[in-house]
């Protein structure tokens, strides 16, 4: 037998994108594992190799495309187009006023209405978005990465009720990850205790009323987009999840009643093996956390569903057609890692709101991987690779270190309040930038193999910025005039009263307000007032209704 190859020279100087040193080659000497304890068959504890026994033979991952543009009706058209083309799930991104919980007719947000997502301000918007779509037959993921998540959940619930759909049959997810939102998505000065209360209210509500719904998606993806490396991306998302679990347990919920309703959405970036390793490591950690730390017993509590979005931040505005290649490689990694839902960033995303063509290419990429490459025929096909198992172990160890550090601070809520979370994320982000700027990390079209801007004809793209949906703003104004304002006002008064009472779950009164055609900004404003904050986070407008 040949002797294992040894590494010479550049030890430690060649690293993965998260700074993990890598050797020239990996051999049996580099990796140690007990198969049953550390890997296990697919569908078995600790789920390193995947959460289903037959993985994609049983059911392919949910192919979907993040979608949200101009107006609910326009987005509905795009959704139906993608569904006709074989998309198996719906993924919706709301516009920035929705994410921030500010009304469309607010002077500062009007220019952004419907420009970077779909406006979902009220029940009518949700109804129009899902026009002609049977809610109980689809899984839908709503990427509302802010404190508005429980309000969007209320819109879904209120709409199902109005359509006579059994709430128990609804399958989908909201993000509902306020600590993450505070640091790298959308949040303007909302008190953390209000955010955390709403988060747990939504979990509790789903346990009771919407058992097949994922009440919480820890958003690792946006942590990555904000500069976190793989260890911090998964480590902070797990730490946030631990924080919410602890709050829910404090509320008196049983771990096995809600653990399966939590999932993680993460990024698939360009460093191929590292992506696969981090996802496998995360499943293993989740299983151990649930079993050993929280005493979960049910099989479904221990296995973590992971949704994967290919990395928007890996795309370049230069030579944009190259982004099709990036998306393909990242989606392939997501499949090899055993993800449950995958959506691709479209190739023109670094430049504009994705066009119909780019959305189609993103969908086709997944279908090509599924039908043509054969990689979905075998579960965890890379399992047992010396390198991949070594990397999985190394990333797992790094994540445990981070989790211990956060525990030592006193938990993730303390880490968020003290500024630790922000600092850790920023350090990581600046380091990443410096590596690209200095050319240490090579990005084709950006710092190597450039083409001058005026000769860069590698792809024609759509209009860079969409016009704001002023028509939609007008429709919201009209709704405010035509709805039964007494009913709306009464529902907001109730919400205000409930919000001032710590012992109340706010979901019923939010659903009531949504059903009475309250607009998202009115609901958020009412909650802010109840917590002693200004109605309008920009402090420019006053409520048009009375709460006293």
């Amino acid at each position: 037998m040949k002797k294992p190859v040894t590494n010479k020279g550049d030890e430690g100087s060649v690293r993965t994108s998260s700074g993990i040193p890598v050797k020239n080659v990996y051999t049996p000497n580099d990796v140690e594992f007990d198969y049953v304890r550390d890997l296990g068959d697919p569908g078995r504890y600790p789920f390193t190799r995947g959460i289903h026994e037959e993985m994609y033979r049983r059911k392919a991952w949910s192919t979907r495309n993040l979608c949200g543009l101009e107006s609910p009706l326009k987005t509905n058209e795009r959704l139906r187009y993608l569904m006709r083309e074989g998309q198996s799930g719906i993924a919706i991104v709301p516009d920035t006023p929705t994410q921030l919980g500010v009304d469309a007719d607010h002077p500062l947000v009007t220019p952004s209405v419907g420009t970077q997502g779909v406006p979902l301000y009220c029940l009518r918007d949700m109804d129009e978005l899902l026009q002609g779509i049977a809610m109980e037959e689809m899984t839908f993921s709503i990427s509302v990465c802010s404190i508005a998540a429980p309000i969007i959940l209320a819109q879904v619930s209120a709409l199902a009720r109005r359509r006579g759909v059994d709430l128990g049959k609804l399958r989908g997810s909201i993000q509902n990850d306020p600590i993450q939102a505070r640091h790298c998505s959308y949040d303007i000065a909302n008190p953390l205790d209000l955010c955390l209360r709403l988060c747990v209210d939504a979990i509790e509500y789903c346990v009771r009323e919407m058992p097949s719904w994922h009440s919480l998606t820890a958003n690792a993806y946006d942590l990555r987009e904000s500069g976190a490396d793989s260890i911090k991306e998964m480590g902070l998302a797990l730490a946030n999840s631990i924080g919410y679990v602890e709050l829910a347990l404090k509320r008196g919920l049983d771990i096995d009643s809600f653990a399966h309703q939590m999932l993680i959405i993460c990024s698939s970036h360009m460093d191929f093996f590292e992506q696969i390793a981090k996802i496998r490591a995360t499943r293993r950690i989740w299983a151990k956390l649930m079993k050993e730390r929280f005493g979960a017993k049910k099989h479904q509590s221990l296995r973590l569903t992971i949704a994967i979005h290919t990395a928007g931040s890996s795309l370049t505005a230069q030579q944009p057609i190259n982004n099709v290649i990036r998306g393909s490689i990242e989606a392939l990694a997501a499949v090899l890692a055993g993800g449950q839902g995958i959506d691709l960033s479209c190739y023109d995303e670094a430049l504009c709101t994705p066009t119909e063509e780019s959305a189609m290419v993103a969908l086709r990429t997944q279908q090509i991987i599924l039908h043509e490459t054969g990689v979905a025929k075998v579960a965890d096909p890379l399992g047992g690779s010396y390198y991949l198992e070594h990397l999985t172990n190394t990333i797992e160890a790094g994540i445990w270190d981070l989790l211990r550090e956060i525990d030592a601070i006193g938990g993730i809520v303390q880490a968020a309040e003290s500024g630790w979370f922000k600092r850790v994320l920023e350090e990581s982000a600046v380091g990443l930038y410096k590596d690209i700027d200095s050319g240490k990390r090579k990005v084709v079209g950006l710092n190597v193999h450039l083409i001058p801007e005026d000769q860069d004809n590698l792809l024609k793209i759509g209009k860079i910025h969409l016009e704001p949906g002023l028509e939609h703003v007008q429709r919201i104004r009209e709704l405010k005039e035509t709805r039964d304002i007494r009913k709306t006002e009464a529902s907001l008064k109730r919400l205000y009263r409930d919000a001032r009472d710590d012992g109340k779950n706010l979901m019923p009164s939010i659903i009531d307000a949504v059903s009475s055609h309250a607009i998202i900004g009115e609901i958020m404003g009412t909650l802010r007032l109840a917590y002693g904050q200004p109605y309008d986070p920009y402090e420019m407008i006053q409520p048009s209704f009375r709460l006293g």
């Binding site: 987009e225 370049t316 504009c352 600046v430 700027d437």
Partner: protein, 147 residues
Amino acid sequence: MDKRRTRVLLAKMGTDGHDLGLKFVAAILRQAGMEVVYLGPYQTPEKVFNTAVQEWVDVIGIGSLSGEYTTFVPRLIELLREKGLDGTIKVVLGGLIAKEDTVRLRRMGVTHIFSPGAASQEIVEAISRPPKREKAGKRTAGKAAAR
């Protein structure tokens, strides 16, 4: 006054919350020895203007990944012009800026527009250059007033 370090205010206006790029810019400028007042996202033009005046900054750097700059940057420049500060405080813009808007924005008084992938060297050099356009500034102001 001459040896004073260049002071730069960095902000995003409106609902555009993605400020990773702007944080990078802050890091670059600090490393180049400038003082950065980091206001971050979700600002109004009024807030940016007031802070710029209070903090005596030389440059206002606005980041924008959405189309909101077409509304808020002209408003910011109008505020500077009203106080006669458009020649003193330089306004620079970075992010996803549509080509068809750049001419108009420059004419309005935006001195530099950085596109995605601009090298840090380019940003530092452009920002540290003193406001050059006493006359140009007045001329555009005059044009705007005449309209």
